[in-house]
Symmetry: C2
Subunit: 248 residues, 2 copies
DNA sequence: TAGTGGTCTAGACCACTTA
DNA sequence: AAGTGGTCTAGACCACTAG
């Protein structure tokens, strides 16, 4: 009984016991008390040390497992996971921030009904020549043009999709969750491209500059594609970042 | 009491009750039984319908919340979340697959001790002129060169880092979790670039072709950078993909 | 006040690993 | 056989929301 862990659970805190214990254990891992590959104390030991019930400890271990911090092996123990480059996940936080109130303005460049080309028809699972609405928008951060957005939406005369989609709020809704409530899922891909003349002019950049392209296809609850489009941003203005491991 | 849900929990299944209920509810959401914005049945109702205890239902709701499928509001209910573009996460699965056994071969192009330039020194938090090891590797899938890797590792004469890092297994370890057990965390960024002459030659591509660049810095448990490097792959050979919503 | 989700208990039984 | 994690029960009390 040399050095008990100093940290204890504060039952009077607004932070729930399970959250406190998650924080304590993550901190110990980040501090190197438990190194990758080490075995954590058994669940029974954790119950005793921190004076919580088995269910609470189980919940803590589940959370750490979901977070990718540890791996639990039945009959052996719970172990700290080593770094795995492959577990990194990139999110669109930076992009989402652009669409928060006051952070950005959206300018509608063009929107008109057109006929689907072979490529558009394939992406939207419609026939060549079917009517679609082609929309182009430019998203500014302050005075700076940050993003160029192109989108093909299936033209449905029974619903006033056109006006709703053209609105600035429709774009914001996609990012903050207000608008697209008829959509079941979306597929996204990131790839690299270079700015062509039109894009360079709109983004106040230059032809041939490396740029990221975020393509999206959204589907409704009948698994029918509804829209296909993509954002383009010059590479020096926006990046995707991720952290793996224990950034505490 | 018109139409009870047909799906029930099979207590004899190897699939735990909580997992079955998660699957059932996700399926109902994907099928449009519950639409974005709808309220799910209350926890008490779910207990009754599926004949499980409150704790099991709570666990299910927690899982669905963690998955971003629903949002629980105290005192009001649990609601199906609408699509949010900003919640999309891109992972490196495709990249990781390359490094699985038999999927790829790694060719060491060059590895030598050098002195840190201003840029390298800044990235690795060392002084200009300090010794580093510069490594270049080429990763093949079958006969095709897929990835070019450049990396600067801090030279530590007390440890045989050089040999270990140069090994093919070191790279594979980064992706599958065997090797980097002295590393605390890593920061990653994705950006766009175009191939320069040397890169194009090695990757059997052409100058100016758009390419993705995955940069990484790894830190040890003293928060000291250990290595800085990046992968380059031509954009038509590798993409990052994500799906949001209910892809069931 | 009634209903909702949020947390937590103090066990139980099981499957698995290791010795 | 002993120890580990995996699941589950049948409640309890609390905080919050709504009518």
């Amino acid at each position: 009984m040399a050095d008990e862990p100093i940290a204890t659970i504060d039952r009077n805190s607004y932070e729930p016991a399970y959250a406190q214990l998650v924080r304590i254990l993550r901190g110990q891992i980040a501090a190197g008390v438990f190194r990758p590959g080490d075995r954590l104390p058994s669940e029974a030991q954790l119950c005793e040390r921190y004076d919580v019930s088995p269910m609470t400890v189980r919940r803590v271990v589940n959370i750490l497992t979901d977070q990718g911090v540890v791996i639990a092996e039945q009959g052996r123990g719970t172990f700290v996971k080593p770094l795995e480059l492959g577990t990194a996940t990139f999110d669109l936080d930076r992009l989402q921030q652009l669409f928060r109130e006051g952070q950005s303005t959206v300018k509608l460049l063009k929107a008109h009904i057109t006929s689907a080309t072979e490529r558009t028809a394939r992406k939207l699972a419609i026939k060549v020549g079917d009517r679609t609405v082609f929309i182009r928008r430019l998203i500014f951060q302050g005075e700076k043009p940050m993003l160029l957005h192109r989108e093909h939406v299936i033209y449905d005369p029974t619903r006033p999709l056109i006006e709703a989609e053209m609105e600035v709020t429709a774009l914001r809704g996609l990012f903050s969750g207000g608008g697209g409530s008829d959509l079941k899922r979306g597929d996204l891909t990131i790839d690299a491209t270079v700015l062509i003349e039109e894009e360079a002019a709109l983004l106040h950049s230059e032809v041939g500059v490396p740029a990221l392209r975020l393509e999206h296809i959204f589907y409704d609850f009948d698994d029918q594609p509804v829209s296909w489009g993509w954002f383009i941003c010059s590479g020096d203005r926006l990046r995707f970042t991720a952290t793996i491991g224990f950034p505490d």
